[in-house]
């Protein structure tokens, strides 16, 4: 593409895509970037453009969102393999065309790169019993992009189990096959270096991670969070971390202000409370005002005899066969009931009934003069009556 500003470059790319691709451009999601590492051609600069059907991108983003993932950047497998080539494997860079094979027992990922730029990525199933077929498919995959004679070498990444396949590929394709190892910085959580087998199995995923970490400014982004927003957040954090001493001074200042506020608040509160206490007149308080009445209430609750209640409880249980001639109720001489009963059993029933309540205790019926109509005397203690220790005046009424 000729050199142009960003907006004009995008216009030119969109026209080119419209012309070259079988889908209308409004059905595509696409992105482009200048290839700064690639040499400038006679007509301008190299520009890498990648596109995918818009509905597929939307579908994949929706699926990721449904799984609770917030996607920073959705890019292509080509970008992942390119990042893996540049940062994930030990090899000497070559300006010409190369192939990479990430070989596992089931599948080969075959990428063709020119000057580090990924031109194609294809996957082929491995026919375990017929490596010739697999090698033929591999040849077709490479030749679909470039003639085989232009391929300088084939970088092979796979476990030792794939050695026969590697030898077969070298023989079948007639290319120099170089075995590559994972970069020494690629380690597991425990610090163990990755093996070639692990790199072959997880190569595209590792490449994607490397692209996100090391090439996040240039990687092709088909969808995801706005780069500006991510960058703005990053810039904010960086700007905050740029002045540690200023922040420390601010923190110390805030601490001092907090201490001053704390001390001032305590002093103010203490002064308020002391003012309140000085103005507090105990004799004018509610407690002091109602104290005489409350004392009187306590005395009455403690010593007043519930005459009405006692007589009512008594009358409730007196049977019809009993005629009461006198009732004496006193704080000291308890309850004394005298009367006559036509039915001798009624006296004891009355006594039992009085015992069942909570008001009377030590109920004691006595019959007298059984030959003269069944007179009786019933005495009982009043359970809720408190005696005076000094005693009331003795003597009859």
């Amino acid at each position: 593409m000729p050199d142009a500003d960003e907006q004009r470059l995008r216009q030119m790319v969109s026209h080119r895509l419209e012309a070259d691709l079988p889908l209308p451009i409004d059905q595509l999601t696409w992105e482009c970037r200048r290839l700064h590492g690639a040499p400038a051609g006679p007509q301008g600069r190299w520009v890498l453009t990648q596109a995918a059907p818009r509905d597929r991108v939307a579908r994949d983003m929706a699926a990721l969102a449904a799984a609770g993932l917030r996607v920073d950047a959705m890019t292509t497998e080509a970008e992942a393999v390119g990042a893996l080539y540049r940062h994930g494997i030990n090899h000497s860079c070559h300006p010409g065309t190369e192939g990479i094979v990430l070989a596992t027992a089931d599948e080969w990922v075959i990428a063709v790169l020119t000057g580090g730029l990924t031109r194609s990525v294809r996957r082929i199933r491995v026919a375990a019993d017929d490596l010739d077929v697999t090698c033929r498919e591999c040849r077709q995959a490479i030749e679909a992009e470039v003639p085989l004679r232009e391929v300088h070498r084939l970088l092979w990444c796979g476990s030792s189990e794939t050695t026969p396949a590697r030898q077969k590929a070298a023989e079948s394709l007639g290319l120099t096959v170089e075995v590559v190892e994972p970069h020494r910085q690629l380690v597991e959580v425990g610090g163990t270096a990755l093996t070639s087998g692990q790199l072959a199995a997880f190569g595209p995923a590792l490449g994607l991670a490397l692209a996100g970490l090391l090439e996040h400014n240039t990687v092709i982004r088909l969808a995801g969070r706005e780069q500006d927003r991510i960058e703005a957040g990053r810039r904010r954090v960086e700007s905050l971390l740029r002045y540690p001493w200023a922040w420390m001074a601010t923190a110390i200042g805030l601490l001092i202000v907090t201490l001053i506020i704390h001390v001032a608040a305590i002093k103010w509160e203490t002064r308020q409370m002391q003012t309140l206490l000085k103005g507090w007149d105990k004799t004018q308080s509610t407690a002091a005002r109602i104290e005489p009445k409350y004392r009187a209430l306590l005395r009455l609750e403690k010593y007043r005899i519930d005459v009405e209640g006692t007589i009512a409880d008594l009358c409730r249980v007196v049977p019809d066969s009993i005629v009461i001639s006198s009732i004496q109720l006193s704080r000291e001489q308890r309850l004394v009931i005298k009367g006559t009963a036509s039915d001798p059993k009624a006296i004891f029933k009355l006594a039992d009934d009085l015992r069942t309540g909570e008001r009377f205790a030590s109920v004691n019926p006595e019959r007298s003069e059984p030959g003269q109509g069944g007179s009786f005397t019933l005495t009982a203690d009043l359970a809720d009556v408190r005696r005076l220790t000094a005693g009331l005046p003795r003597g009859g009424l």
Binding site: L276, L277, P292, R299, E308, S325
Partner: protein
């Protein structure tokens, strides 16, 4: 005098240590003491205020109990001096006799005795002999318990004859609390 590096270092360290001790004694320690005093004052004042607030809450509850009692059983008051209390209660008892229809035959006040819970108070008792119907007796009892100053009916005796219909013979002892001070020459 020439000083070695080691001596100089020791001198600097010693100076710093002495400086730190001086800062602690002159500035830090008094500051911490003043802060602790301030906290102690605050705590003391807060405890007093909390106690007052607690008393006020308790008083509010007591006031509610008093109001409830007065609604049911008449006014509550502190005992008055003997003469004043006896006069007041006697007047109200007469009103209660009349209201309840009791036929009073005899009533007399007894010598006051000391109140066991409070030596500044005495208990005077009025003994009443009367005749009344069953219903009137309890009208009278209810009226007596609404008289301000009445402590309790300490004795009640009801007697009647089933063979001879007529009013019941009623004997009552009504106790009244009085203040045993001032001009109360009867109080012991």
């Amino acid at each position: 005098m020439n000083m070695s590096d080691r001596d100089r270092r020791a001198l600097v360290l010693g100076g710093v240590a002495v400086g730190m001790i001086a800062v602690y004694l002159v500035a830090l320690n008094p500051l911490v003491s003043r802060y602790n005093d301030m906290l102690a004052d605050h705590e003391q004042a807060a405890a007093k205020v909390a106690r007052i607030l607690g008393e006020e809450r308790k008083a509010a509850d007591q006031a509610r109990q008093i109001a409830e009692w007065e609604r049911k059983a008449g006014q509550l008051s502190e005992p008055k001096p003997y003469s004043e209390q006896i006069t007041s209660v006697s007047y109200k008892l007469v009103a209660a006799y009349q209201a309840s229809g009791m036929q009073v035959k005899n009533s007399n006040w007894t010598h006051p005795i000391p109140w066991p819970d409070d030596r500044t108070l005495s208990l005077a008792t009025i003994r009443i002999d009367a005749e009344a119907d069953w219903e009137n007796v309890f009208k009278f009892v209810a009226a007596v318990y609404r008289i301000e100053g009445v402590m309790s009916i300490d004795r009640l005796e009801l007697a009647g004859d089933s063979k001879k219909p007529g009013p019941l013979t009623v004997k009552l002892a009504v106790s009244v609390l009085v203040r045993s001070e001032g001009d109360n020459r009867w109080a012991s």
